[in-house]
C-alpha cells in the first residue's frame, strides 16, 4: 500500500479535499481562502478545483460568517468556516453559543457546520495570534470540539467533523502545521469523534494531553526513559468534547499517577475538567495527587524569553513528571 509523508497541514488539506470531492454540499468560506489559498495556505488550489460557488472569501465579520454558516447548515449544506485565527473566533462566540449550540435543542433543526480555527503559540505570535481557547468552546452546550495532534488524525477527524450533524469546532495547532510529519496511507481511516489515543505506552505515570503538547510530552517521556528508566505513558485526547472518559480512567488505572498538560491557561482550563473526572471516578486508583502543567494565567507574551517561560515545553514536562514519579 503506498504511503506518503505528509505534514499536519497537508493532513488537514487532504481531509478537506476528500470531503469536498465526495460531497457537493460541503462549502468552504472565510477570509482569504479563495485565490490566496488561506492565511496558512491550507486551501491553495481549492478555488480552481471546486469553483466560486463552493469556495469564497468573506469580509471581516466573524459573527455574520458564523451566522451564515448556521443558516446554510440549517438548509442541509455542510459549511466549513475558516476563522483565520482562533483568537478572532471570539467575536463569533455569541453566534456559536447562543445560536448554533441551541438551535437543535430548541427547534429540532440540525446544524451540521464546522468551524476551523488555527490556535496555539510558540513562535512569537503575541497575545492575539497564539491563544488556546478550547476551554471556551467546550463549555458550550450543543457544540463539539476536536483538536488533533498528528497529520493522520487531523485528516480523519476533519472528515468526521464535517460529516457530524452538529456544530464542530476543529482546532488546528499552528505550530504543528509544518513542524510535524507522518507517514500515512492513501486511504483515510475513519476515526470516531470522542476517542483518545495512547501514543506512547508506559506504566509509571500517564500524561493526558493534546495539541502541540503531545509532541512535547513524547519528547519528555523519551528523555526520561533514557535518563532515569521511567516508563511514562502519553495519551493524546484528540477530541475534547465529547472526550474519551474510558481511556482516561483506564490509563490512570494502569499507571496510578497522572500529569495533565495543556498550552491553554490554568484556571478553568480543560485540564481542570480532566482533573475533576479523575478525582471523581479514579480516586481509588491514585497513588499520588493529580497534577496539571499549563500556561499561567496571563496573556500570551510576545518576547521570546517571556513566551518560553509561559508555554509548557518538554523540559518542564519532564521536570513535572520527575516530581510526580518521586512523590
Amino acid at each position: 500500500m503506498p504511503v506518503n509523508e505528509i505534514t499536519y497541514l497537508e493532513g488537514i488539506r487532504q481531509g478537506l479535499q476528500h470531503t469536498m470531492q465526495e460531497d457537493p454540499d460541503v462549502i468552504l468560506f472565510g477570509q482569504d481562502v479563495g485565490s490566496f489559498g488561506g492565511a496558512f495556505k491550507v486551501t491553495t488550489g481549492f478555488l480552481e478545483t471546486f469553483g466560486a460557488a463552493r469556495v469564497f472569501n468573506t469580509p471581516i465579520c466573524e459573527s455574520a460568517m458564523l451566522g451564515a454558516a448556521i443558516g446554510m447548515a440549517s438548509q442541509g449544506l455542510k459549511p466549513v468556516l475558516e476563522v483565520q485565527f482562533a483568537d478572532f473566533a471570539t467575536t463569533a462566540i455569541h453566534q456559536l453559543l447562543n445560536n448554533a449550540g441551541t438551535m437543535h435543542y430548541r427547534t429540532g433543526v440540525a446544524v451540521p457546520m464546522t468551524v476551523r480555527a488555527p490556535c496555539g503559540g510558540g513562535f512569537g505570535g503575541g497575545p492575539f495570534h497564539s491563544e488556546e481557547l478550547e476551554a471556551f468552546f467546550c463549555h458550550m452546550p450543543g457544540i463539539k470540539v476536536v483538536y488533533p495532534a498528528f497529520p493522520s488524525d487531523a485528516r480523519s477527524l476533519l472528515v468526521a467533523a464535517i460529516h457530524d450533524p452538529n456544530p464542530v469546532v476543529f482546532l488546528e495547532n499552528k505550530y504543528l502545521y509544518r513542524h510535524i510529519k507522518e507517514l500515512v496511507p492513501e486511504a483515510i481511516a475513519p476515526i470516531r469523534i470522542g476517542s483518545a489515543r495512547v501514543c506512547r505506552s508506559g506504566q509509571d505515570a500517564v500524561v493526558l494531553t493534546y495539541g502541540a503538547m503531545v509532541h512535547e510530552a513524547i519528547q519528555a517521556a523519551e528523555h526520561l526513559a533514557a535518563d532515569m528508566g521511567y516508563r511514562v505513558m502519553v495519551v493524546d485526547m484528540r477530541t475534547l468534547k465529547p472526550y474519551d472518559t474510558d481511556t482516561v480512567i483506564a490509563t490512570v488505572a494502569a499507571t496510578n499517577r497522572v500529569l495533565i498538560v495543556h498550552e491553554g491557561w490554568h484556571t478553568c482550563g480543560f485540564g481542570a475538567e480532566l482533573a475533576a473526572l479523575v478525582a471523581e471516578q479514579a480516586f481509588h486508583l491514585l497513588d499520588a495527587p493529580v497534577r496539571r502543567l499549563t500556561a499561567p494565567d496571563c496573556p500570551v507574551p510576545f518576547a521570546p524569553d517571556l513566551e518560553k517561560a509561559y508555554r509548557p515545553n518538554a523540559a518542564r514536562i519532564e521536570e513535572a513528571l520527575v516530581e510526580l514519579l518521586e512523590y
Partner: protein
Amino acid sequence: MNDATSLFLLRVMLTTRAIEERLIRLYHQGRIFGGVYTGLGQEASGAAVAAIAAPNDLFAPCIRNLSLHIGRGASPRDLFRQWLGRADGPTGGRDGNVHFGNLDHGVYAMISHLGAMISVVSGGVMARRYQGMDSVGFAFIGDGATSTGDFHESVNFAAVREVPLMVVVENNHYAYSTPNASQFRCRNLVDKAAGYGIEGIALDGNDAIGLTEALAPVVADLREKPRTVLVEVDTMRMRGHGEHDDFSYVPRELLAAYAARDPLTVCREILLARGLINPPGLEALEAEVQQAVDQAQQAAFRDPPPSPSTLLKGVYAGE
C-alpha cells in the same frame, strides 16, 4: 392586488391581534410564566411579507412579528402551546414566547440577541440558491437592532455576497425606553442603507395593503436580480416593550396619533371602501377568529408540560 390577498391580510392581522390580546389578559391574570412581548399596532409588515413571499422563501421574524408566523401557517394552538411551554409546542418548552419557528414554512426561530438572525437567514437563502431554488430571504428587526455589530456585519456581508435579502426594519421609535434620537444619528434610519451600498426604501408600516402593493414588485425584482435591500417601515408599539413595562416614557400624543392609524382600522376601512367585505361579514370573521383563539387557548391549557426526564434529549443531533 387581488381580493383574496386583501382578505388574507385582514384575517392574519385579526388573528394576531386576538391572540396577543388574549396573551396580555392571561399575563395579567398570572396564568403565563415568563415574559409577554407583543406587536400590538405593528401587525401590518409581517402580514404583508407573508402575503408577498413565495413558498420557498425564508424568514427571520423578530419579537413583534407574530403576524408573519400566522401568515406563514402557524396555528393559534401552536402559539399558546409555545407561550405555555407545552411538551408538544414548537420548541417543546425549551424556549419561550416568540422564540419559535417552523423551517417547513421557512420560518427561523429567533434568539434574544438582536441582529443575530440576519446572517442566519442570509446563509439559508445562499444555501437554497445553491440548491437551485430561487428563494428570497426576509429579516425583520427593530430600530434598536440596527445599532448592533451583528446588524452591521450581516448587512455588509449580505450586500457583498449579493444575497437576495430584504431587511425589514420596523422603526417603532423606541427600543425599550430608548428613543431614536439616542439610538442613531442618521436623520433617517433608511439612510444607513447608503453606507452598505444598498437601496433603502421607507414606507408607512401601518398600511398592510399599501406595503403589499409597494413591496411585491421589489421582491419580484430581488428574486430575479439577487441583491440586498433595506426597507424601513414606520410604525408604533402600542404597548410597553413587554407587558412588564408601563411605557410611561412614550408621549401619550404619539400613542394617540398612531392609535388613529391602527393597522386593523386602516385595513378594515380600505376593504369596506372597496366593497371586499361588509359589516356583517366583518363581524362574522371577527367572531370566527375569536372562537378559534378561545378553542386553541383552552386546548393548550390542557396540553401536558415537558417531563424533566427529557431535559438532556436533543442537545446533539443524531444521538
